[in-house]
Subunit: 247 residues, 2 copies
């Protein structure tokens, strides 16, 4: 019965339309200031229709975050981390994360917001489950490379892959968060001169932290010199040709 399938497809498309409209509005106004009326206008449907697809404003927001996580995973995959060794893979992922937070700054901000339980505590189970899956997929993807390193003896084995990933994640995310925050403030509020945040170069700290975390993982016996950072470069240098050491 092709009709049912067509209807299913149409339903999915309508849902996508709403999500994309919501993306625009939420990005521009933020969760609080955005109104569903506006989303409805932009999606060219009535407000009631939105509630046929989502149970609440928070649900839509959550769906956007899920979308963002999937995009992030896609971005990670595009760096082809499997082409290089575990340490190199983490290096690429770290750089991709930085790049992601720059290019998709609104999306990145939303992902950070999702850390806060208050955003996600009232969403419907189905939506939450998708978010959880997406989040696990991203972290799990990173974890595979850590695991590879552990298995191959490149990384120390007294730390589980999951622990390492969590540590990577919170450290790098935290720095990117502050980076974004302080650069936002430069535009809107005058950051006090004696602020700690005003005195830290977050880009530099990010790359330092990345390097440190890698060193932490790399077991001392094997050469830890492998993935010395090619240093912070003008933007656009992320995907520059690099020397890949193959054994």
């Amino acid at each position: 019965m092709g009709i049912l399938e067509r209807k299913e497809r149409e339903k999915q498309m309508r849902r996508d339309t709403i999500v994309r409209a919501a993306e625009g509005v939420f990005f521009e106004k933020g969760l609080r200031a955005a109104t569903l009326e506006e989303v409805a206008d932009k999606a060219e449907v009535s407000k009631g229709t939105i509630y046929l697809y989502f149970a609440s404003k928070e649900d839509i927001y959550c769906a956007l975050i899920t979308r963002g996580l999937r995009l992030l995973l896609e971005t990670f995959r595009e760096t082809k981390p499997e082409e290089v060794g575990p340490a190199g893979a983490l290096k690429r992922l770290g750089s991709a994360y930085l790049e992601f937070s720059r290019r998709q700054s609104y999306l990145f901000r939303m992902l950070s917001a999702a850390e806060n339980p208050s955003v996600t505590e009232n969403v419907s189970p189905a939506i939450f489950s998708e978010l959880e899956d997406a989040s696990n997929n991203v972290l799990g993807y990173v974890a595979t490379f850590v695991q590879k390193g552990i298995d191959s003896g490149t990384f120390r084995s007294d730390v589980t892959a999951h622990e390492a990933v969590v540590l990577f994640w919170v450290s790098l995310s935290g720095i990117l968060n502050l980076r974004q925050r302080s650069s936002t403030f430069k535009g809107t509020r005058a950051l006090k001169a004696d602020s700690i945040f005003a005195s830290v170069d977050f880009d530099s700290l990010y790359s330092k932290c990345q390097a440190y975390l890698l060193d932490l993982l790399v077991s001392r016996k094997t050469g830890s010199a492998e993935w010395r950072s090619p240093a912070r470069k003008p933007k656009g240098a992320v995907k520059q040709a690099r020397v890949v050491r193959k054994r």
Copy 2:
């Protein structure tokens, strides 16, 4: 003119009453679900009175966060970190932070929420400035001990105290956040079994992380993890048997 002073005192007390009432309500319900009506009831004033002391709901929330940061600073001071050396001081502070996040879990969650710019972007300048000061005081307090370590040669000097504090802060806060989140979920939502978060012992990770970060700071004769400067510099004392990079 004692009357003016008395009035000033009374005003401050009224404000405190409101803040304390708000604390109860916000802790119980969260920012979104809490209503000012309820705060007013609890504080035994009318809703209008609240607006004589605070410009918006967000302002009150922000004031609570500021209170929380001051309490955290107080907690830090009570551990007497100056009694021991820099490394010992950081250990005490780290443990105190963990303890704080346990005892004052609602407060801690609010502090984490404050990381998100959307919470603080619309508060009035005066309130925001107080928050900024409180935040700087806490981080600055920690920084003094890092600085002591650097000055005395106990800590490496190729990292600024502020950088180190920021790294400490985001890493430990991030772990505590996830710790709290995962333990909260255990109560309300069933965390998926294959979730990364379900497989990590955050308490253990916290202490490991604390130890790693300290190790990072403590300078060593033989090259340990080296913070690479963002400026390209010749790789000096890399350890043994490293692989020579081609070209």
